[in-house]
């Protein structure tokens, strides 16, 4: 707290100087007064506040005390000393009035030069999801072992040193959006105030800017990493930061939904949108279950074949079926059956094939995971309880782990850490004059403001909710030569849970960071 009040009162430049002088202590001046710069001070924090993720909830007395602990991770034979900081920081509006108390956990390498050291802010999606999956499952210094696509790992999931951590490349800040995790709006605002595409991105812009100032990091290369709805959130946030004059070096979009108007699964009823973007993912899942008779044994080849067929034949066929109910020649259906393993009757019934029909009908009596089509459960079994074995398997392990991880980082609070709130029920999805958001124009605007901005799209080949080819189709709208790269690997929506794909993603991330910071 010692450093907080001066920061609020002083001009921005003065605050930066003050924080540079006491680099880590400023961001995490806990009750123990950790002099963290030397990597020795540790402070525990028992946060007395009660946090709520309800729409009407409002925090009256936010605090910014943090818990600070010190750790070391050995990566490729090199020991990296790092500091973990857990707690809240208030997002402030342009008049410095508080908007929301944002919970975050930051992992920062000790002794790094702030101007050279990248910092990455991570956001899961929902909307309404806490950033618990990226925090505990992806590239932090420790990660949960899930063993997916197997569903045999019991809770608690082991929490181990992460050989694929990005801490060797960037400092990592995992951020809970308002009304998720332990983040809450500050009175007179309520959580509902920030439950919309634009309001959410604006308050997170204010948080990111404040975190950078308070921690003396405005000169650090800045990266934003979104997953799922986070890939809708981050392009808007990127545009807002660039507009505000804060340069963003790179954006990572994992399992993307850039345009809610193009993803055929975003519908309660049967789709009215062309599902051709899903076809390569159906082929990948059919291959996994050894039902795709056209399979060659090379998944990348099968995906490429399905991609090409989707563009040339299936997309126009599905459009015709949507318009008039007309099925294509039976040879086309036969091609789809061989490509995916899904039976003729299913295509005849629902030619514009939605993901729910596919994952229930591919194997009769079996439900496949929407997040990972390689995961399955017999209909009516315990793992099928939520109609999604991937979610049913993964969630309890993460929910249990966050309850022990935060206390282990010195942060204790009696409130429930909310993994998924009801935000989506009252979320204001309107954006850019549309009822559902399309953030390709936001990316385009950000690239216009900053021609050196680079974007890396990652995803899982077996993800049945944000399919790889839809990301290809949406990003193809950007101007040719736009500074983007796309990589897809075996795995589901949370592709990093796959032990084979996580190291590949780490290598791609390292190369991406080097290219986006101009490092050799």
């Amino acid at each position: 707290m010692a450093c907080l009040q001066p920061v609020l009162q002083r001009a921005r430049a003065a605050a930066v100087l003050a924080c540079l002088a006491t680099l880590v202590a400023c961001g995490g001046g806990g009750t123990g007064g950790g002099s963290a710069g030397d990597g020795t001070g540790t402070s525990q924090y028992l946060d007395p506040n009660s946090y709520s993720a309800a729409a009407g909830a409002s925090l009256s007395s936010p605090n910014e005390t943090t818990a600070v602990t010190h750790h070391s991770l050995t990566l490729a034979g090199r020991a990296i000393a790092y500091t973990a900081t857990a707690g809240h920081l208030s997002a402030l509006d342009s008049t410095q009035a508080p908007e929301a108390s944002i919970f975050y956990v930051a992992y920062t390498a000790d002794g790094a030069a702030a101007a050279m050291r990248p910092v990455t802010f991570f956001f899961n999606g929902g909307p309404g999801s806490a950033t618990v999956y990226l925090h505990l499952g992806s590239f932090a210094p420790k990660r949960l072992v899930t063993g997916v696509p197997a569903t045999t790992q019991s809770v608690p999931f082991p929490y181990v040193d992460n050989a694929d951590s990005l801490i060797d490349t960037s400092d990592l800040v995992f951020v809970d959006a308002v009304g998720t995790g332990l983040s809450e709006a500050i009175a007179p605002h309520t959580n509902q105030t920030y439950w919309g595409v634009d309001a959410d991105a604006a308050v997170l812009r204010d948080f990111v800017q404040r975190w950078l100032v308070v921690n003396g990091r405005i000169a650090s290369p800045l990266f934003l990493y979104g997953e799922s709805y986070g890939t809708t959130r981050v392009p808007v946030l990127t545009r807002l930061l660039e507009t505000a004059g804060q340069r963003v070096n790179g954006v990572v979009e994992l399992s993307s939904i850039l345009d809610y108007n193009s993803n055929c699964s975003v519908s309660n009823a049967k789709p009215t949108i062309n599902c051709a973007g899903f076809l390569p993912s159906y082929a990948a899942v059919g291959d996994w279950w050894q039902l795709a008779t056209a399979a060659t044994g090379d998944l990348d080849v099968e995906i490429a074949t399905a991609r090409s067929y989707a563009d040339t034949t299936y997309a126009p066929d599905a459009s015709a079926w949507l318009a008039s109910g007309t099925l294509p020649p039976s040879s086309h259906v036969a091609t789809l059956v061989a490509m995916t393993g899904l039976a003729t009757a299913a295509w005849d019934q629902q030619f514009d094939m939605d993901n729910d029909t596919f994952r229930h009908d591919l194997i009769p009596g079996t439900t496949l995971g929407i997040y990972d089509g390689r995961m399955s459960a017999p209909v009516g079994s315990a793992l099928d309880a939520d109609d999604d074995p991937s979610n049913t398997f993964i969630d309890p392990g993460f929910e249990a782990a966050i309850k022990t991880v935060l206390p282990a980082l010195g942060y204790t609070n009696p409130s429930t850490y909310v993994l998924l709130s009801d935000a989506i029920d009252s979320w204001n999805f309107s954006h850019g004059g549309r009822s559902l958001p399309d953030v390709v124009p936001d990316l385009s605007a950000a690239m216009l403001l900053d021609p050196s901005l680079k974007v890396l799209f990652l995803g899982g080949q077996h993800d049945l909710i944000t399919p790889l080819h839809q990301t290809e189709l949406d990003t193809a709208r950007l101007a040719s030569g736009a500074p983007i790269a796309l990589h897809f690997h075996p795995g589901g929506h949370m592709t990093y849970l796959d032990d084979g794909s996580r190291p590949l993603m780490k290598a791609e991330l390292a190369a991406f960071y080097a290219s986006a910071t101009g490092a050799p």
Partner: protein, 123 residues
């Protein structure tokens, strides 16, 4: 009949409760329907239409900063109004050295500056 109806309502409610929210989740039905109607007349933007939608976001930020509704911003107004990017590039945008820039000045600068970029590679 009435009992069956009540049971079916209960089953539907139970099913709705059991199904967890997804990520990305499905927006409320009314929003989906409004979007469907819009999409029939407004397909996904590409090329010049995408450019104009990108520009519309920037114009909205410009207008938000232009609280006096003068149609131009000084460097200080841009900074105070949240358009720090304009303040950072003010000299280059204000080619007339007028001390104030219009949105057309911003557009002109963006067009002038947009040079071909080198793709990263990969698919």
């Amino acid at each position: 009949m009435r009992v069956a109806f009540a049971v079916s309502i209960w089953l539907a409610a139970a099913a709705a409760q059991a199904a967890p929210h997804l990520d990305p989740g499905r927006p409320p039905s009314a929003v989906q329907q409004a979007a469907q109607a819009e999409n029939r007349v407004r397909p996904a933007s590409v090329g010049a239409t995408l450019d104009s939608e990108a520009e519309a976001h920037l114009r909205a930020s410009f207008d938000a900063a232009d609280v006096a509704r003068r149609g131009t911003l000084s460097r200080a107004e841009a900074q105070a109004g949240g358009f720090g990017w304009i303040a950072n590039h003010f000299e280059a945008i204000d080619v007339q050295h007028a001390g104030r820039v219009s949105f057309d000045d911003v557009r002109r600068y963006l067009k002038l500056r947009s040079a071909p970029t080198v793709p990263l590679g990969g698919r």
